[in-house]
């Protein structure tokens, strides 16, 4: 590459300013050179302007070939003379001597991830952006046993391969070759990379990476435009789907009723889902009051079986941290009695108006919405639980508040011993005072209590 630079006549005395790339005279001309020649191009080829008429006496190479227009380097025209700027240092064309870039290296996989965010394949800690992606793939580690055809056939499985070439100059391990493969589409390249990276191929282990440095400006531009368009189209589509879901759910509430009981449950999990209440109920459907992890499993099944229910997303719009989510399971129950919580009220705004139902009536609230066939099994049980808990609390609370705030799950602290006043009458009085205290305390903290109670089941 250096030799190329020397071979290009650079006008002496002209101030080398590598930061300008327009012709000093015409202010429009890009000068581009290719592997074998150079040509004068208008600044924006995409605009379809014709070559500007700059008289360049000192053209380094010949004029337009057919290849060089696509594989270009920016040169500069200075006082009527073309001067190569940096071009000699840059890999001028797609097939120039390749450089080894950092993104070609395989980073070591991360072994310290906790289970929940450990994918099925070990991966390095790395962020992919559109800049890193490309329809050019660099394939390293191809055994040098004359399997080019097979390699190209393998990659052609994932899309149309426009060009391919072995990169002889690219530093490779012994007895292996490095190939550059140019797909027609970025998506093909992406699929191919996913599927072929770290695969064995005729006894060698392939390392496949993107090679965006082989793109032309036009490639880069198109890549970005495509990406933006893709994201835009998809977000629109998702939006539409969601709206449709909402619409269908609202118009035909009966159709979504089968999965009733769970829906109740689900509703409670996502406090602010007021408008999407209906969708959520349909989606979450058909699983009983299961503990959370299995719940997700069921959910998954359900979704897979009914693809149409993609609208759940909306359910969690603006929903709050997990803790809250758990808590809100129960907010639901007292919310009927204490509708002061705004979340709850919005949540239940869809329900048949009755904000003053007892525990037992909850089932009734549900019933109009969902078929009774599935419902009754669970509601009495929760109601029972509620009642039992309340009784227990009433009897054990010494000073109400403290105990109510204590978590009810997990090991409990030993109960405070009731103080013996050593006199029957005094003891009686003390008990009455305790009970009164617990009653008084129970009124405002009602909500909290139930929230805590609720967690028990989880």
């Amino acid at each position: 590459m250096d030799s190329e630079k020397e071979s290009v006549p650079v006008e002496e005395g002209v101030e080398e300013d590598p930061r300008s790339m327009f012709c000093c005279l015409c202010k429009t001309g890009f000068f581009v050179s290719g592997e074998t020649g150079a040509s004068c191009l208008p600044p924006c080829r995409s605009l379809g302007e014709t070559t500007s008429s700059v008289n360049c006496s000192n053209r380094p190479y010949g004029t337009d070939g057919d290849r060089e227009t696509t594989r270009t380097r920016v040169l500069r025209c200075c006082r009527g003379r073309w001067v190569i700027i940096m071009a000699a240092l840059k890999p001028g064309s797609v097939w120039d001597t390749p450089q080894v870039y950092k993104h070609h290296e395989q980073q070591s996989a991360c072994l310290t991830r906790p289970k929940y965010r450990e994918g099925r394949r070990l991966k390095a800690v790395k962020v992919y952006t559109i800049n890193l992606e490309s329809r050019f793939l660099l394939v390293q580690g191809v055994p040098a046993v004359g399997v080019m055809t097979e390699l190209v056939q393998l990659f052609a499985l994932y899309g149309v391969v426009e060009e391919y070439r072995v990169l002889d100059e690219y530093p490779a391990e012994q007895f292996t070759e490095v190939y550059l493969i140019k797909f027609q589409k970025l998506t093909s390249a992406r699929a191919a990379k996913r599927k072929t990276d770290e695969r064995s191929f005729y006894g060698g282990l392939l390392h496949v990476c993107y090679a965006p440095e082989h793109e032309t400006v036009e490639d880069t531009r198109r890549k970005l435009q495509d990406r933006r368009r893709y994201v835009y189209r998809n977000t629109q589509r998702l939006e539409r789907e969601r709206e449709q879901e909402q619409a269908t759910e609202k118009t035909t509430p009966a159709s979504s009723e089968t999965p009733a009981p769970s829906s109740v449950y689900e509703d409670r999990t996502c406090p602010r889902s007021s408008q999407e209440d209906n969708c959520s109920s349909s989606t979450s459907s058909s699983f009983p009051l299961l503990p959370l992890p299995p719940h997700e499993r069921v959910h998954q099944h359900y979704v897979s079986s009914k693809d149409s229910f993609k609208s759940v997303k909306t359910v969690h719009e603006g929903s709050v941290p997990t803790e809250d989510r758990m808590g809100s399971l129960h907010n639901f129950i007292p919310s009927n009695r204490a509708p002061d919580d705004c979340k709850q009220t919005t949540q239940w705004s869809d329900l048949p108006s009755g904000s003053t139902f007892g525990n037992e009536e909850r089932s009734i609230i549900k019933k109009p919405k969902h078929p009774p066939s599935t419902a009754p099994r669970f509601i009495p049980r929760t109601a029972q639980l509620e009642n039992r808990k309340r009784k227990m609390e009433d009897s054990t609370d010494l000073l109400g508040v403290a105990d109510r705030n204590a978590p009810l799950y997990g090991p409990k602290l030993p109960e405070l011993p009731k103080m013996d006043m050593e006199d029957a009458s005094l003891n009686k009085t003390a008990n009455i005072i305790r009970q009164t205290m617990s009653k008084v305390a129970s009124v405002p903290s009602e909500k909290k209590t139930t929230a805590v109670k609720a967690r028990r089941r989880i």
């Binding site: 300013d17 930061r19 300008s20 790339m21 327009f22 600044p43 924006c44 920016v74 700027i85 840059k90 890999p91 870039y101 950092k102 993104h103 991360c110 310290t112 991830r113 906790p114 994918g119 099925r120 800690v125 790395k126 962020v127 952006t129 559109i130 800049n131 965006p212 082989h214 793109e215 032309t216 400006v217 490639d219 880069t220 531009r221 970005l224 990406r227 933006r228 994201v231 835009y232 998809n234 977000t235 998702l238 996502c270 989606t283 979450s284 959910h299 998954q300 979704v303 897979s304 229910f309 993609k310 609208s311 759940v312 997303k313 359910v315 969690h316 603006g318 929903s319 941290p321 997990t322």
Partner: protein, 192 residues
């Protein structure tokens, strides 16, 4: 990406929420990096945009740009690059005054960071924000990038100059640069 195919939106949200929570709660730099990278990669998929938007992940990414740890910056701007493809997220970033922070990343010595920053700037370009994005300093910087040896950088900068700047802006920036060329040359370019 396809690994998340089988998950519905609510599960997605919960999972991402878990990531954000871990990021905020953990004291381990390593875990932070991993989670940040996860989030940035999830921002690539349009299906996650809504959840990420609700979780204010754009703010999280923007916060990372001022971190000292270069990895945080790289992942943060990578995430912004991905998430700013979405128009609503873009607006969110613009509302939080993200442009100066992103422009700051152009001075990074890591080329991935610089590349992400350029793409992010292109994504952030709207009628209202255009003047800020094509500030003369930025245009000068792009001019310089467009002439580096790194083809990815020069390609991207060229696209920026051609598609987002007017010819006048470019000419003006060029003249300004020629005025004090020596000082401009001194600015380090990102390494490979």
């Amino acid at each position: 990406m396809s690994g998340m195919d089988r998950f519905c939106a609510s599960e997605r949200f919960e999972y991402l929420q878990g990531l954000v929570t871990e990021f905020q709660d953990t004291d381990s730099e390593e875990a932070k990096e991993q989670v940040l990278a996860n989030l940035a990669n999830f921002a690539y998929d349009p299906r996650n945009m809504e959840a990420l938007r609700m979780l204010q992940v754009t703010e999280l990414f923007l916060d990372m740009l001022t971190e000292e740890n270069e990895n945080f910056v790289e992942f943060g701007i990578g995430g912004l690059c991905n998430i700013s493809m979405d128009q609503e997220c873009r607006d969110q970033i613009l509302e939080s005054e993200g442009i100066p922070l992103v422009v700051g990343c152009l001075s990074s010595l890591r080329d991935e960071t610089v590349l992400s920053a350029i793409t992010t700037l292109m994504n952030l370009s709207t009628a209202a924000s255009h003047s800020k994005i094509t500030d003369s300093a930025v245009v000068q910087c792009m001019l310089r990038f467009s002439l580096t040896q790194n083809p990815r950088l020069s390609n991207l900068a060229t696209v920026f100059l051609q598609d987002y700047c007017s010819q006048e802006q470019v000419n003006r920036a060029r003249e300004l640069m020629e005025g004090h060329s020596q000082s401009a040359v001194g600015i380090p370019l990102p390494k490979n």
